[in-house]
């Protein structure tokens, strides 16, 4: 028997969607998390409600890496439709656990793995009467089986079940029984089968398990948004679900039942965009969550908000395109779409969170920036960040925070103004003052998407038009150093090779870089967090001979922006692209970097 691997392996569950597998997997992950051991969960699911293959990866990583490993060490094969693929994917030395109710002789074709058969269906069929619970409990039973294999803490498992079903106590016993079925069977029949073990640590204190959409929805509550409009689209829907939940919990008057918020499910994304423009124009903090197709539909309005200078906050939880694409698979494919969304010359502010913690913080940033710069601001998350549970530092809130409502003139302010002009750059910072409807007769102005001069009047005069659009460009550029700054990790030794990446690539990039570093290959790493790019980005590129740009799309969209917005020779930037729709893993990054470095050397 090979040596034991403690707290460093990946479990993958192949299942059928709609069978309660998500809850079972979340449970499994939570047990490990509560044992103090860092975990990473990646849900790879179909665009379907019931009956199609779905997978869930749980990486146990004592070192706290946040990307996928690229290996599967334990495969829990619950779906006959994907048995073949699941078997092939398992790494040598791995364990395959399957439902032995039906014999699967082909599992024995691999001699380099351990096969564990547990008669899950048979046991559940004899233990439970109701057909639906037989299906659901089969999944809970494998949690028991895995608990036995890995040496998970049963007390924690039992506590979690009691917490989860606190409102439905009848289900507690049922679930405990199902856990025991799997657990006891493995203990009895495979007492020492697993070389993979989880050992309790103290590494998850002050950490939480949260998905990016929940964190962003919560961020909108803390940022003081009172209005949200949206049209349902995977994978952004759960962001609004979270906002609704926290508004219900926190924003309803206990006695009157009156709401301090308004959420509208619009008739389409066009209307959702129009609604938040109307609400922002009328002085409410607001946002809309959507995904790529929604941005396409909103584009006309985005240009209007840009030109008429109306704050607008959009969360784009990116999914693969083009067209409907693969709606439940992840990508960073809307970077350029969002950077220039709409017709005409438009440039927008983009924020790139890398994890749910940043989704929370950047939701607040976006609300501030949109009002400060009176312009659309995009938070570019993706399915991986938005819909997977990540282990992050507990979210923090600074009670001294005051929202930046930007340059808004009150009735009092207007008293000292001779005449109010909506688009006049009074302070020389490229940002004009605005007024909110209903404030004061002196503050009235007419908002239009048609040509207007700096006073706000209609114009078709070329010079007057240019004056305004040139200021808009300058305003956009001036936002660069007000955005979340890039994060730089320096190599242990001086190097002329660098990496630029963003968002959900971060975990895999950090791990690949660590491992290359251990082999004596050194790379500096900058993660950009905002667009327009801060000066540091250009400086970082300038100090290296070659910069690898790692991103999750086919067309090197971040690289394209780096070229167009900095003075960088084309050949200096080397694209490393991952766009299969599955979350990035370190092996891909390490492989691509090694290959590219070798190629450059031999060239």
């Amino acid at each position: 028997m090979s040596k034991t691997r403690v707290n460093d392996f990946t479990i993958k569950v192949g299942n059928v969607n709609g069978t309660g597998s998500a809850s079972a997997n979340a449970l499994l992950m939570k047990i490990i998390f509560r044992m103090g051991v860092p975990v990473v969960g990646k849900n790879i699911f179909p665009s379907n409600i019931q009956g199609l293959p779905t997978w869930y990866e749980i990486r146990v990583t004592e070192k706290g890496y946040r990307g996928r490993s690229g290996d599967i060490d334990i495969m829990i094969a619950m779906n006959p439709d994907s048995y073949k693929r699941d078997l092939e994917e398992l790494s040598p030395g791995g364990i395959l656990l399957y439902d032995e109710t039906w014999p699967r002789p082909h599992f024995l074709t691999r001699s380099d793995i351990t096969v564990i058969g547990v008669p899950l269906a048979r046991m559940c069929n004899s233990a439970f009467k109701v057909a639906r619970s037989r299906i659901l409990m089969k999944n809970v039973a494998y949690v028991g089986a895995v608990a036995a294999l890995l040496g998970l803490d049963l007390d924690i498992l039992h506590t979690l079940l009691r917490e989860i079903f606190a409102a439905k106590p009848k289900l507690i016993d049922l679930n405990l029984q199902a856990v025991a079925l799997g657990y006891d069977y493995v203990k009895e029949h495979y007492p020492n089968a697993s070389t993979f073990k989880v050992e309790a640590r103290d590494l998850t204190k002050d950490k939480v398990m949260i998905d990016g959409n929940t964190a962003a929805g919560l961020g909108c509550v803390y940022g003081g948004a009172t209005f949200g409009a949206w049209y349902p689209i995977t994978p952004s829907t759960s962001l609004m679900d979270a906002f609704v939940k926290y508004c219900k919990d926190l924003r309803i008057h206990p006695e009157t039942g009156k709401h301090k918020y308004c959420i509208i499910q619009a008739e389409d994304e066009l209307a959702a965009a129009g609604m938040i423009i109307g609400a922002a124009w009328d002085g409410a903090r607001c946002f809309t969550p959507t995904s790529g197709p929604g941005i396409s539909l909103m584009s006309e309005f985005i240009g209007f908000a840009y030109y008429a200078e109306i704050p607008m906050v959009l969360f784009n939880i990116q999914r693969t395109g083009p067209s409907t694409g693969m709606p439940t698979r992840t990508q960073q494919c809307d970077i350029q779409l969002c950077a220039t969304a709409s017709h005409g010359d438009t440039m927008h502010i983009l924020l790139f969170p890398a994890d749910p913690g940043e989704c929370f913080d950047m939701a607040v940033n976006a609300l501030d920036l949109a009002e400060r710069f009176q312009t659309p601001v995009f938070v570019l998350s993706d399915i991986d960040i938005g819909m997977n549970d990540w282990m992050v530092d507990e979210l923090q809130w600074d009670d001294s925070y005051i929202p930046d409502r930007g340059k808004v003139l009150s009735s009092e302010d207007l008293k000292s103004v001779d005449k109010f002009h909506r688009y006049l750059d009074v302070d020389g910072d490229h940002i004009p003052y605005r007024t909110i409807p209903g404030t004061d007769p002196k503050g009235a102005y007419f908002t239009r998407g048609s040509g207007h001069n700096k006073f706000g009047g209609y114009t078709e005069d070329g010079a007057e038009y240019k004056e305004v659009v040139d200021r808009l460009k300058a305003k956009w550029k001036a936002s660069a150093d007000k955005l979340p700054a890039p994060i730089v990790r320096r190599a242990k030794q001086a190097t002329k090779s660098g990496i630029i990446s963003l968002g959900s690539c971060d975990g895999a990039v950090i791990e690949a870089r660590d491992r290359l570093g251990a082999d004596g290959v050194y790379l500096n790493y900058m993660r950009v967090r905002g667009f327009p790019f801060a000066q540091e980005v250009e400086d970082f590129i300038a100090e290296h001979d070659q910069v690898f740009v790692i991103e999750q799309n086919r067309d090197a969209q971040l690289l394209g922006l780096l070229l167009s917005e900095t003075n960088t020779p084309r050949e200096k930037l080397i694209p490393l692209l991952h766009y299969s729709g599955e979350p990035l893993d370190y092996k891909f990054v390490r492989g691509a970097l090694s290959e590219a470095l070798n190629l450059r050397k031999s060239a």
């Binding site: 919560l218 008057h253 039942g257 006309e300």
Partner: protein, 351 residues
Amino acid sequence: MTSFVEPFIRRKNEPTNDLGLVRADYDGAMSTLCAGCGHDSVTATMARAFFELSIEPHKAVKVSGIGCSSKTTAYFLRESHGINTVHGRMPSVATGAIAANHELAYIGVSGDGDSLSIGLGQFVHAMRRNVNMLYMLENNGVYGLTKGQFSAAADIGSTAKKGAVNELPPIDPVSLALSVGATFVARGFSGDRDQLLPLIKAGLKHKGFGLIDVISPCVRFNDHKGSTKSYAHAYKYYNPAIHADYVPPSTQIKAAYEAGEVMPVKLHDGGEIRLRKLENGYDPRDRAAAIGKLFESGQSSEIITGLLYINEDHKDMHDMARMEDRPLNQIPYSELNPGAAKLKELQKGFR
């Protein structure tokens, strides 16, 4: 080219409203529409309605889409905020604005092109939500700014200026409004200011979505023989069925009316709308009857006008969303921030 500023001339002994303002205080920039355009007359009537209701100009908000009619929001109420949005999308912007602050008087100005083709979806959904606004649909059956294409409001058989005959059935905004839940549905004619003015006042005071479909001929592209949206055609088939007057709360007792002739409808602000039946047996509080009457009049080419339907009992968007009375844009952040301690507490669920 900048917009023309209309000269502001104060005359002696000019009538003032309750705020001490004169009618000219409700004007805007000079219209750039064609001479004789029906829309200019509607604009003047809207301005007069705000003046007579003594609404402070800065407490009014004008919203519009794109098209000749949508341009007119610049031509009245210069001391109001106005927003000329995107083609066909005014209803969503209005919806958001009204969600943010329901205390202002919102008037939307649109046309048949803006509302019935590109903007049909938003138009219908704003009515479903019973957004508290008055929506003026200035209907001329034609695209004016792009020079004379049929709109979806063109009747079968109506001809274009260059002779083409429309064969597609029209979308009637009034029937549409009745079927999707608008709570104040009227039709007027830019050529009958006496009827239109009280309709606008009543519509502004109604709580919920008010639609006034105003036949407003396009003198440049759709006022010829053969057009069913010409002045001549409108005058010929015009039937003012129900006259509506708005009576403000304070003057109710003074105003007298003959029983039987007038059907009063109580409004949320304490005032009332008094309906005068010009057509026997017509009750605008009866939705089914209104739909029947419309269908009937359509058969005979008659243009039935007036307040065709009113329902003051339906909740508006604000009430349906259970928002508190104070507008969202006036709630201080201190009441919106749950605080650091709460954040810590609610994260216990994430462990």
